[in-house]
């Protein structure tokens, strides 16, 4: 394989696998803080069960997220050395600060949060849950600051040093706090909570379905019913919001990255009153990779795309892909990923209203079809996040830094095709195994259910904690 192709494929693979785990940890964080708070304040066993069960899943996700995240940091150097040299001054800083400000906070307090319940008091334990959650959310701040700068670069100056283009930072506020950052951060964090809510609801629906519809007795049914209700509340809040700020984000893309927007809508020629195609089919299989390229059959809403781009004007003009000097991004991927993501987003809204309505009617545990719909949708939130990132990252190609540097120019100059192919193939194998193991472990945790009985602190008499502080020098006897 060509080193450029292999590097791009490898980066795409390693990011797409990695993003699953931050979505899980960022999405679980607010739930865990809430569970910890309720566990401490109410002494109801179900909150201890909720906290401990979901903490287990959080901990595994965090570990896998750590090891797959280090890979990404290294890959900027190994595979994209030219990019790293050119943009390191702007791009390296946020990564370093992410490590110091966010990752450190998260990883240290995670030790207490996962292993330390019997070693620390309620106050420090609750602080640990907040610190872990804050850490995951701050990580996203710095990563998205770095990413949003690549999408809509500002606050820089270009210079040529030793025949190489170097990006210099001149205005840190402009560079690091682009309007894009806000759209991305809100959309991403809300998506993480929504994805986790869907996952929780799907898993809980399975046990609710088995218990209430099929009649299998589940001793932890109260736990699963509570999980379902909490997840549904989160879904009712996040699902409509996602569409709301997704729309604003889309308009912002139309303004700031017109080439990406044109690819999202597969608009080739500049036009006004552009319809929003729900589906589009090429006339022959040869042009399957290029929906709407020519002579197509499509179903669309008249003026819809113009309306989206402009925020309400169906006659607005959209610049076509043919107007740009550079090659277009792979239009089919961007076009379909965008449609699938938006379609799923609307499905989640519907699902949340459906569940909310049944709950309101007191029939939440009786609607078998709803349970099945929730089960089937349990992983779709994560799929939608993946598709959203495909739109964002594939849609900005050929640029690694919009308008400044092409991705193909960012690849390490000395890298050979053999080396890059070897590691790419290695990652395909390693990450397939990794995903398989992760899924296996999560499934096991779910099958084993929450802790119960005497294992719960809530059910135990308070006892003095063994080996807690003060024993620091106990070994030097």
């Amino acid at each position: 394989m060509d080193p450029v192709i292999a590097s791009r494929a490898q980066f795409a693979l390693t990011t797409m696998v990695h993003i699953i785990f931050p979505v899980m940890s960022m999405g679980l964080a607010p739930f865990l803080i809430y569970f910890t708070w309720k566990d401490i304040r109410t002494d109801k066993p179900v909150y201890e069960q909720l906290r401990r069960f979901w903490t287990k899943i959080f901990a595994i996700s965090f570990v896998v997220g750590t090891v797959t995240g280090i890979v990404l940091e290294f890959e900027f150097g190994t595979n994209f050395a030219a990019f790293s040299t050119a943009a390191g001054e702007l791009f390296g800083g946020p990564l370093a600060v992410e490590g110091m400000m966010a990752f450190m906070l998260e990883a240290t307090f995670l030790g207490i949060f996962v292993f330390g319940r019997d070693r620390v008091g309620d106050k420090l334990y609750f602080i640990s849950s907040v610190a872990v959650g804050l850490g995951t959310w701050l990580s996203a701040v710095w990563i998205l600051i770095a990413n949003s700068w690549m999408q809509t670069p500002r606050g820089y100056e270009l210079a040529t040093e030793n025949g190489q283009t170097i990006v210099h930072l001149v205005d840190p506020i402009a560079a690091y706090f682009t309007p894009r950052f806000t759209y991305m951060y809100v959309h991403m964090q809300n998506a993480a909570i929504e994805s986790v809510a869907l996952f929780m609801a799907g898993v809980a629906a399975y046990y609710v379905f088995r218990h209430h519809i099929w009649g299998f007795e589940h001793e932890n049914i109260n736990f699963w019913e509570t999980t379902l209700k909490i997840a549904l509340i989160a879904l009712l809040i996040t699902a409509p919001l996602q569409a709301f700020h997704g729309d604003m984000y889309g308009r912002h893309v139309a303004e700031t990255q017109p080439q990406k927007f044109a690819a999202m809508e597969a608009v080739w020629e500049t036009d006004s009153y552009v319809p929003e195609y729900i589906v589009a089919f090429p006339t022959s299989l040869d042009s399957i990779t290029d929906p709407r390229a020519k002579e197509l059959f499509g179903i669309g809403i008249p003026g819809g795309a113009s309306w989206l781009a402009s925020g309400g004007d169906p006659t607005a003009e959209i610049t076509g892909l043919n107007e740009f000097d550079t090659e277009s991004p792979p239009v089919a991927i961007v076009f379909w990923a965008f449609r699938a993501m938006v379609g799923m987003g609307f499905w989640f809204i519907l699902l949340s209203f459906w569940g909310g309505y049944r709950w309101y009617k007191g029939e939440l545990f009786e609607d078998a079809l709803l349970h099945k719909a929730l089960m089937g949708s349990s992983l779709l939130g994560i799929v939608a996040v993946e598709l959203g990132w495909v739109v964002t990252e594939v849609g900005r190609q050929p640029w690694v830094i919009q308008g400044i540097m092409k991705t193909s120019d960012g690849v390490s100059p000395g890298l050979t095709g053999a080396e890059a192919t070897l590691t790419f193939v290695g990652f395909v194998g390693l990450y397939a195994a990794l995903l398989g193991l992760y899924a296996y472990v999560i499934a096991r945790i779910i099958r084993n259910g929450p802790p119960g009985g005497d294992d719960l602190r809530t059910n135990r008499e308070p006892t003095p904690t063994p080996g807690s502080p003060a024993a620091g020098v106990a070994d030097d006897d």
Partner: protein
């Protein structure tokens, strides 16, 4: 009031910031090699344990710490990237396969304990034990190969200097790991753990001698580069420290032994940094002043690091205080 113009004009407080970041970067690396080093060393010793309870005790002892410890590597990488991007890009891309070998070892090292705890059947646990030991031994070994190649400016992945530094570093992690395990879990572990530490520290001294011998042949200035008073002092000190380590372990003063292992780790990294300075990428001859970013981002990062790193120290103090004293195998989840 600090302004962008002011921050762009001159280095913060007139500090020699390239040197500050060079030192900081190596301090971060040394902190990683010490803290995650005892995790790696514990992982190596894990392979020598006989019973389930002993293995559980090792996992319980490192469980709460390793994630935080490993973040020092991320911060080291981030600091190198942010302060010396060209050096970061050059080093990582030239040692391409080696970097992925390090990543592979770290991935396996990270996953293995989590997986080990998931199921309690024999085959499963044996497989993940092997993975845990392999990841724990190979991660510092590959990192050592990288450090050796970096120091002498080697282009390829395999070299004699790489191998000896790899062995040196791996043995040093066992030195730290033995002291750490004695401190945290000695009642559940066999007394041989102390012996492993003592053997490792003797092996470490021999490996340091071998490294210095190979370095004398590989460095352009030859042996004169090694006759720097700081380097000679640190090498002599490490002999005394090794003796102190053995005495401390035998007297069961494990916190002292662990502290000595830490001092030895910082000493080793200091020697490497001293030999390298003022170059940062000896292969290309690039110096820290050739590759340092411009004044504005450097000042901003210096402020950021100055504010954040003290906080990080607080986090670690909280964590290590919460888990002070022995950790019993029952505390693993």
């Amino acid at each position: 009031m600090i302004s962008v113009e002011g921050l762009s004009a001159e280095p913060l407080f007139g500090l020699p910031l390239p040197e500050v970041w060079f030192a900081l970067m190596f301090a971060l690396l040394a902190t990683f090699l010490f803290l995650d080093g005892f995790d790696f060393g514990a992982g190596a010793i894990f392979g020598l344990m006989d019973t389930d309870r002993q293995r559980e005790a090792v996992l319980a002892a490192v469980g709460p710490f390793w994630d935080g410890n490993e973040v020092w590597l991320v911060v080291f990488g981030g600091a190198l990237f942010a302060a010396f991007p060209a050096a970061y890009a050059g080093l990582f891309s030239r040692h391409y396969l080696l970097m992925f070998a390090i990543l592979g070892a770290l991935i396996i090292r990270g996953l293995a304990p989590e997986m080990y705890e998931q199921r309690h059947d024999d085959l499963w646990q044996r497989a993940w034990s092997v993975a845990f030991v392999a990841g724990s031994v190979l991660a510092p070994f590959f990192l050592g190969i990288f450090a050796g190649n970096w120091l002498v400016g080697n282009e390829g992945s395999l070299s004699l200097i790489g191998l000896v530094v790899g062995v040196t570093l791996t043995l040093l992690t066992v030195v730290s790991g033995a002291a750490f395990l004695r401190l945290k879990a000695q009642h559940d572990l066999p007394p041989e753990v102390s012996t492993y530490g003592q053997i490792a520290v003797v092996g470490y001294l021999l490996a340091v001698v071998a490294t210095l011998a190979v370095l004398a042949t590989r460095l352009p200035e030859g042996i004169t580069a090694l006759l720097d008073p700081l380097i000679v002092g640190l090498v002599v000190a490490s002999i005394a420290l090794a003796a102190g380590y053995i005495v401390a372990l035998r007297r069961n003063q494990n916190l002292i032994a662990l502290g000595i292992a830490g001092v030895m780790t910082y000493g080793l990294v200091t020697v490497v940094a001293r030999i390298m300075y003022p170059a940062i990428d000896p292969a290309t001859g690039a110096t820290i002043r050739d590759t340092i970013v411009s004044t504005l981002p450097l000042n901003l990062m210096t402020i950021g690091a100055g504010l954040l790193l003290p906080l990080v120290v607080v986090y670690f103090v909280v964590l290590y205080t919460a888990f002070s004293g022995p950790i019993s195998p029952e505390e693993a989840y």
